[in-house]
């Protein structure tokens, strides 16, 4: 068997140890950049009475460590929901509890009930910032590395590292998590683990991680149609009904068990309905301020907010979103069933099938972002993740979308102190990012996007192997 040209060229230098060092280098570079961003002020810094998302996260740590679980989602004397009430699913609450417990040890006064509202100090900022960096190190960066090593494993180390940087250092994610202050890396990391396990055809693990992601932030629902249809269609076969039912039942059991475990403290009807009510507040209106979605654009022509009642709008949104999602159904069915037929139930994952899954993720996330009710501008991160995954496949589209996503920066309000500095921050992050990925190496990458496959027999002069014949992964399913 011949060794691919790329590998031959690298082999003496970048042996196994060298490759580990490369990944270590990239991880330490990403920690450096994350940390450099996080020394800047966070959202709502020194801005009483409500402060910002930083204060919300700190407040949740305070609430979850000091109050029993039964009070977390309820408006009680100790828990004023008007002041940053908890409105994320239980996993967020648990991680807040964990960070809060550590924070109590580090600086007890920053986690005290009542008195710590709006607590700001240099050391507590350092602590809060480092929790985001550590959670990135534990979940987000490993997820990206895992994805790159799975999906692009035929590519050279250089290209893989570029893909790693491109995905893990998206300016919008860095700014929202480390500048503005949130923990999107955790939920996106879980979702990416789910995606990667799907690409490896390990469906049970995939559903487990996707449920975790859903339970960290409900916005991961944007991906659910893609996961749902994909898992359904790959397991559905009319020639072997018994086996398809068995497979689907297995996935169902995993999903339900994971959900139950996550929701153990909130399993009573009263608790569960209150949590759900907190997670999906429909009263906030069609869209917030200025989101670059369909309703915002259409509002310049028709004033939806005055013409329709909120109930009607909700129905309208649901219908349009469903219509937009339905686009993916037919291609998915076609791809999955034809794959099933071809492979004759041997577990084989075709490149085109993998791509189709990622495309359907993009479509369903965009459908929600563009048409659903009450969209927050930060949710652009959800369509951006699957888009960025395609960096070595269809470079130009990815890059254009990444550029467009910079509209987001308009919406992160500059902090009270050092507003000018904030714009410098934004500019330098995007410039640095585009230098690292887009302008330089990725420019060359997008020309030749198909991996040089060792098994691909077509001569290298041919511009592109048909992806369908590019057998990429041969990983057996645990089933």
């Amino acid at each position: 068997m011949s060794v691919p040209e790329d590998l031959k060229y690298h082999s003496p230098i970048f042996n196994k140890r060298g490759e580990t060092l490369v990944w270590l280098l990239l991880i330490s570079l990403s920690v450096l950049i994350r940390y450099a961003i996080s020394i800047h002020p966070y959202s709502g810094h020194a801005k009483p009475p409500m402060f910002g998302d930083y204060e919300a996260q700190r407040h949740w740590m305070e609430i979850t460590t000091k109050l029993p679980t039964s009070e977390w989602y309820f408006n009680t004397t100790n828990n004023d929901l008007q002041y940053w009430g908890l409105d994320y699913p239980p996993l967020t609450a648990y991680s807040s509890w964990l960070f809060g417990k550590i924070g109590e040890k580090v600086e007890p006064e920053s986690m005290a009930l009542y008195t710590s509202r709006g607590y700001e100090s240099k050391s507590s900022k350092l602590f809060m910032r480092s929790t985001v960096i550590v959670s990135d190190l534990l979940i987000w960066l490993p997820a990206v590395l895992f994805f790159v090593q799975t999906f692009y494993k035929e590519q050279s180390l250089l290209k893989r590292s570029i893909a790693f940087i491109f995905i893990s250092m998206q300016p919008s994610l860095l700014l929202i998590d480390h500048g503005h202050f949130q923990y999107n890396g955790i939920s996106l990391g879980f979702a990416l683990f789910g995606i990667t396990f799907i690409l490896r055809n390990q469906q049970l693990l995939a559903s487990l991680f996707f449920v975790l992601s859903l339970n960290y932030k409900q916005m991961s629902l944007y991906y659910s149609p893609a996961f749902f249809f994909y898992l359904l269609f790959t397991n559905l076969s009319f020639s072997n009904i018994f086996k398809s039912i068995l497979n689907i039942a297995k996935i169902g059991i995993v999903v339900i068990t994971t959900f139950i475990i996550c929701w153990i403290p909130f399993l009573s009807l009263e608790q569960a309905s209150q949590v759900l009510f907190r997670l999906f507040p429909v009263a906030r209106g069609l869209f917030e301020d200025k989101v670059a979605n369909f309703w915002c654009v259409a509002s310049t022509v028709i004033n939806f907010k005055t013409k329709f009642s909120p109930e009607q709008l909700l129905k309208l949104c649901t219908l349009t979103t469903l219509a937009a999602i339905s686009i993916i159904v037919y291609p998915l069915i076609k791809k999955c069933w034809s794959a099933n037929l071809k492979s004759n139930w041997k577990v084989v994952m075709y490149r085109s099938q993998q791509l189709m899954f990622i495309y359907s993720l993009i479509i369903s996330a965009f459908a929600f972002f563009l048409f659903s009710f009450q969209v927050h501008e930060k949710t652009i991160l959800l369509p951006l993740l699957p888009v960025s995954l395609l960096v070595l496949e269809s470079g130009y589209i990815t890059i254009i979308l990444m550029l467009v996503s910079h509209y987001l920066f308009e919406f992160i309000e500059p902090p009270v102190h050092l507003p000018a500095l904030f714009h410098l921050l934004v500019a330098s992050i995007s410039f640095g990012y585009f230098c690292l990925t887009v302008l330089g190496p990725a420019r060359c990458l997008s020309k030749k996007c198909v991996p040089k496959n060792a098994r691909c027999s077509s001569p290298p002069t041919k511009p592109r192997c048909r992806p369908d014949y590019n057998l990429v992964t041969f990983i057996s399913d645990p089933n």
Binding site: L25, S28, I37, I39, H40, L158, A420, G432, L439, G440
Partner: protein, 539 residues
Amino acid sequence: MTSKSPNKGVKQTKSSTTTTTNYDHYFRYLNLAVLCTALKLLLIPTYTSTDFEVHRNWLAITSSLPVSKWYIEATSIWTLDYPPFFAWFEYTLSLFARLFDEKMLVVSNLNYISERTLIFQRLSVIITDLLFYISSYLLSQSLFSSNNNTNNNSNNNNQQESTSFYKDSKFIVFAILICNPGLLMVDHIHFQYNGFLKGIMLLSIYFMSTNRPLLGGLVFAILLNFKHIYMYLAPAYFTYLLLYYCIARGINFMKFIGLGVTVLVVFSVSLGPFIYYGQIPQLLSRLFPFGRGLTHAYWAPNFWAFYNFVDRVAIMVKSKYFGIDMSAEAGMLTSGLVDSDTQAHVILPAITPLITLLITIISLLPSLYGIIKSNKLRVFILGVTQCCFSFFMFGWHVHEKAIIMVTIPLGLLALDSIELARIYFVLSTIGHYSLFPLLFQSTEIPIRIAILLTYTLALYLALQSKLDNNDQSKRFSLTRLELLYVIGIIPLEIFNIFIHPVYLAARLPFLSLMLTSIYCSVGVLYCYIQIMIQIFKTK
């Protein structure tokens, strides 16, 4: 990144390939430079040392006072103590500072800091660093140009070199220079203008490397009038210019006079106004403040750190085992260190400036010997490095920041041979680690670690991939002992961050500084001796 096309004979394809290569070539450098700048911009809100106020004060002095008062003004304790060109440089900056915030230009506005002042001062460092980028680029190109090849590795195919960035010697040297973690920490966090000054230094070496010694000497004279610490380089420059410019192929008086006049003109432009005002003694007293101690409060990792350490240990042994009362010294001892200015040696003989000067001159001899023996550029750069290094090792009141003056010229030779690569790797890791106490605040601790870790990993990979060789013995790798020593800074750093402040800071507040200093001096001394060996080895 363009691969060699199979139909190379066709003219059209060939030309298109070369244009893309050129395009990629410039892009590569531009990318890295912009990336570095982006990182520097991100570091704007970090902690600034008193040097920030020093430079603000100089801005105020030069902008609001006439030239005759520049070296007399003493409202702030941070009086102007750099040579005149630097004062003019500050004056030029102050013209722009006016656009940002007028208040920073008021002499009596001590410790004034506003957001705009911060941004202006930080941006001035970042923008003047452009000179450093440019001269690094020029020098990295000239070092590896075909007629001036200092590369010993004949094994490497030159054709392959330009294809990927991790095989490209020019690019690696450029990256080694501009990503220097010491400059990042000292200039962009601690606050100084070293990058700009190093830019002038590299420019001078560039002119020397392209066989324009007169221009090189001129730029060097200008550099001396920016910051007089660059006198460290002067012996090497003087010897080289004298031997290979003035008396190459017989004594050439015209060249000698030409060089002398050039240097004299630079100095008279710089010092002229002050000669006119009769302020030369005043100026000199500012530039060379005697009365400071042998070492700084934090011992720079050099020979005198050992000397001090031995003295401390001797005091301890004497008081403990010989029962001699040393209560006065014991006070110093328990704090781990003493204040720099009042510091005196108790057991070992006291050191005077004259002694340090003598030792330094003796230690310079190897580098001068090397330059006398060979006129190769490689030896010249090695000589310059050794010269700086000697001053660093044995000089009077050396600051730890001066290690960057050694690592930058040595970085030029990092790809020269396996031995120099190893020396550079150890010195850059240890030397830049010794700068850590400059950034002591909690916010900056993760930054300093991340900067050094990233640079060290990248350097290791770059050296390994570039100096790759089929022969195992000729590959870049550290010896076991070196590796152990370099990795040893990890437990040391853990001790400094977590253990020392919690358990020992009350009893021995300076213990972590002393340990860092002593630990680093071992490596620095090792590198010093290694470089000396390299000089003697050259044919």
